[in-house]
Subunit: 408 residues, 2 copies
């Protein structure tokens, strides 16, 4: 008997018919003799609809209130799925995030899981029940409701799998797995049957359909994660620690091409070039939960001031600019320039840093395609370029072909 | 500085515009220097829509799951109201039933409040906050979510007023107060400026717009309840202990005419006429939470068996019949007959039982109107007749005129 955590996204439970289908799939796993904990997202576009509803009464809804509002989306989907299972004759019970023991910090809208108390889950599983858990939500020490941010249901699923020491965490979604590039952009993208956590982390952070936090969590707790379609039985992609036994030279160098279209760039011009300036700039942003990605610093011609450029998500741009304008007097900033129409494209693969030539090959492919590079960052397994958003899809296609990932 | 509990029903918060209006009303009370705790129901027809949604996945949704689903309706309205207040510049916070300390038994769908722990409420009020609480919901000792049944938000409001020792509980609704009869049925119905708990209890139980449990609770804890419109500033009706100082003979004998159209009658024919039969019949019904109203027992011609008739709400009829059919073998019942097309009409007034002639006057008015009486019950302050549902409105109009309640 195995213990599996399954996660179904919003498109998989978008209407009553789809919910009944998910119920039948879970029932099938139960009939095979396994224990199942199922995490679900809100139905279809519910979360967006609730945000729109909030904006009908407040231009900037209070984050605590918004989280309590958004948490209702998952309560609707878990109760419907549990009812559907019960009406098929199975003993199911739905649990809200708080009931499932998910404790978080109080960073509303982007809370992080601090702890999972699996007592109630284990109690219900011991009764032979199919347990349905609301993704995306948890409880603060003050007993207020938080949400984990977009994609947080994946994180809920992996956290539960870790806390319950489940055999595997299955993420069912509207795509059949992880591809060498977004199949909607690159028709010749190939599905990966296996991928390591690190490469998947880069693919996820750079635009693939899984939340990076869930991959990190899976890597730390060594939870094998299987990503597959909720609509078909086609084989998906297994994310796990790569086997040490594969011959090193045989490892594929480039795993895939990822992209992200919600990139905004901020340039803070003319700040004094002295120690502590970068810290003074980025500490307040970090404190307000803004995640800064690429950072580039140039010394200006007169060598007494410097320009610092960095990227944030387009969503975070307004708050970033507000923060900066409150800091301007202290930092004696000459000017703040921002551009919210950017994208990033990344070439991802294990061991890339050990093999020279990948970066220059990437720059050559983009140059030949007439695509200008605004900023560049690299990690051990990734090279990313910030480019114009309108050229993002074309860049992905060119890189997929250029790195010989086109199948067939 | 006073402390008031306000309650707004679903029609008062049916859309964003109405929610903003309620926010402004609450802000006005706050500006007058008072503390306010506001209880809200789900927006408009949300609860019915959620029940319909549940029925798309299960013919008979599991009661525990249904309660968790229904509880989301109030979470939406409280968060929107709190956001609206915050966007007007007031420090507001919304609390779910569990967060507001409302503890209940585990009778899903019709839970009773066992206790209110006001600690969190007092903590938020002490911060100078406007507190918005979800009506209709609570938490069991096992930390599961319950709902209090239809009209339960009134009960939530009065329970909070009692626990907080509030000066008054204001119930804002879509009618301007309590009338001598339903103004939609009787055009000449007059608004009551004051009414005692007992009479209101009968008016509520017999069809007026307030949940009887909230009146009972108000009577026990001596919470003055003010019922008024959320849309106008017209004076409403104050429900409180009648003053002992009013000259007894001046008290109006008939307060109003009430009716209820969801009455079903069940007749259990040919049960053995021996001690314990009625208990054997009604104990299982009570245990499954079915509330039995009027009960009449006739001895049949042969004197060895008896017929027992009783009324339940039409909603409870299917479950009542299922219960009875499972009991039939043990009770050796000859036949069960049911009729779900009935109504009750009631004449309500204080001290009616001490004044002869009211019952016969009621029967005469109905007889002259060609309305047949099926069953009769009386209490200290009420005489009720079960009649055909199609004649209910006509009966209310005739009684309102006959007891000289028509105004003008």
């Amino acid at each position: 008997m195995g213990l599996f955590v399954h996660k179904y996204g919003g498109s998989s439970v978008a209407d009553a018919g789809k919910i009944v289908n998910v119920a039948k799939r879970i029932a099938g796993v139960h009939e095979s003799g396994h224990q199942v904990v199922t995490v679900v997202s809100a139905m279809g576009n519910t979360t967006d609809e609730l945000i729109d509803l909030a904006r009908t009464v407040a231009d900037e809804p209070d984050p605590r209130e918004l989280d309590l509002l958004l948490s209702t989306g998952e309560l609707v989907s878990i109760t419907l799925l549990s009812m559907a299972l019960r009406s098929l004759g199975y003993d199911a019970i739905s649990l809200s995030g708080p009931q499932a023991g998910i404790r978080t910090d109080n960073a509303y809208g982007r809370a992080r899981i601090s702890e999972v108390d699996p007592a109630r889950l284990q109690h219900e599983l011991a009764k032979g029940r199919l347990v349905i858990v609301a993704g995306f939500q948890g409880l603060t020490p003050d007993e207020d409701i938080t949400t984990l941010g977009r994609g947080g249901s994946d994180t809920t699923a992996v956290a539960l799998a870790a806390a319950l020491r489940a055999d595997r965490c299955d993420i069912y979604t509207d795509v059949e797995g992880i591809y060498t590039a977004d199949p909607r952009v690159v028709s010749k993208a190939a599905k990966l049957s296996e991928v390591g956590y690190d490469e998947m982390l880069e693919l996820a952070a750079a635009g693939a359909k899984m939340h990076p936090r869930s991959i990190e969590l899976g890597a730390v707790y060594k939870v094998p994660i299987y990503v597959a379609s909720s609509f078909t039985d086609a084989p998906g992609t297994l994310i796990q620690q790569p086997s040490d036994e594969a011959p090193m030279e045989d490892r594929i160098k480039v795993t895939g091409i990822a992209y992200q279209t919600n990139v905004a760039k901020v340039t803070v011009c003319g700040v004094e070039d002295k120690p502590g300036v970068a810290a003074a700039l980025f500490e307040p942003l970090a404190a307000s939960g803004i995640s800064v990605d690429t950072i580039v610093q140039n010394t200006s011609a007169d060598r007494t001031t410097t320009d610092i450029s960095f990227t944030v998500t387009s969503d975070d741009l307004p708050q970033t600019l507000r923060q900066l304008s409150s800091m301007e007097p202290a930092l004696s900033v000459a000017q703040v320039i921002s551009d919210s129409s950017l994208a990033s494209v990344s070439v991802v693969g294990s061991g890339m840093q050990n093999t020279p030539g990948y970066a220059s090959r990437m720059f050559r492919i983009l140059a030949d395609g007439g695509i200008n590079i605004d900023m560049i960052t690299t990690s051990e397994i990734r090279i990313s370029c910030i480019i114009d958003r309108e050229q993002a899809h074309e860049a992905v296609r060119l890189l997929h072909r250029g790195f010989e990932l086109d199948k067939g």
